[in-house]
Symmetry: C2
Subunit: 161 residues, 2 copies
DNA sequence: CCTATTTATATTTCTAGCCATATTATGGCT
DNA sequence: AGCCATAATATGGCTAGAAATATAAATAGG
């Protein structure tokens, strides 16, 4: 019995699997709240950034959300087609693409304001426990992001030699 | 200042976003450990189940991992093509498809055993903090899964009327 | 028995996410 | 000006994930 429950490969003993499952389930909960606005969850995250400040570059969005360019380019194009954002080259540096909300995109902020409340009702974790959870996951994200950045750097300098 | 930091739409104040980011980053960390085995992260999760017990049905895998059939069917077909698993109809109930590891898939367990250690080194959370994190995310998963099941049931009974 | 319902899986059509590679732009150097 | 290293974004090819719908097998009611 101790044998089974100490098995590091046992699904119940993993940390990463619950994170993975929670993320999938959360996106399923967000969907019915976001589709009336015409947004997916990742698109909603982009709007959260743009509601804080705009314009931002594709690269800035990527480092905020920890997403790759190959993910963002098509996602932002869909958002442009949907009329949520504009994409325009920075005249001062034409390598950069500036992303800004359209008036319609900006206007959605009002409707988005009620989403956190609706979710809080569903999640039904004690506020204190939510805080604890948030803090440890935020810490984990920092550790992971640093670790991945370190590995990327190691790889890049190896590629130069 | 208090205005800004109380904004529920601020990225820094969200619980779901760090979970989302952590999950993406974790999959990036897993990738270099799993590609030598020929597995993706979700495929690895399937193997974790099969290493505990086999055969299992597609539906059982789905409820363990909280994944949809539309996700699992192609995933399992890729795993079959890759020689990791077999898919066969249950002779007693031909609606069901039984999934079992091939000898090759079974053999990978040995190599997989070192993966949790390598990851623990990368994550570098204190063991106690890891435990706290795991417990709160597991709790969250239960709450979310129950909530979604409740909503699905409500929708299905509405469809009947 | 036979039809109606339920159950299990598959299919279709989207959107996302990653890696590796390519394209274009900038800046510094000579 | 011309060249080289670097930087920012785009592309292609793959795997995943979800909702809605379809197919086929099993079961229940009459």
């Amino acid at each position: 019995m101790a044998e089974l429950s100490d098995d590091p490969l046992r699904l119940d003993n993993q940390v990463c699997f619950p994170l993975y499952a929670a993320t999938n389930l959360l996106q399923r909960l967000y969907r019915p709240l976001l589709t009336p606005l015409g947004l997916t969850y990742s698109q909603y995250l982009v709007m959260l950034i743009l509601w804080e400040r705009a314009p931002v570059t594709v690269g800035e969005i990527g480092s905020c959300l920890h997403l790759d360019n190959g993910t963002l380019t098509p996602l932002l194009k869909r958002m442009e087609r949907g009329g949520f954002i504009t994409r325009s080259r920075d005249p001062h540096d034409e390598r950069r693409v500036l992303i800004a909300p359209t008036p319609h995109g900006q206007g959605l902020r009002e409707q988005a304001l009620k989403i956190p409340d609706e979710l809080a009702r569903d999640i039904a974790l004690a506020p204190e426990e939510t805080e604890t959870l948030r803090n440890s996951v935020v810490l984990l994200v920092h550790l992971l992001a640093d670790d991945i950045a370190r590995k990327k750097e190691a790889k890049d300098s190896a590629a130069v030699q």
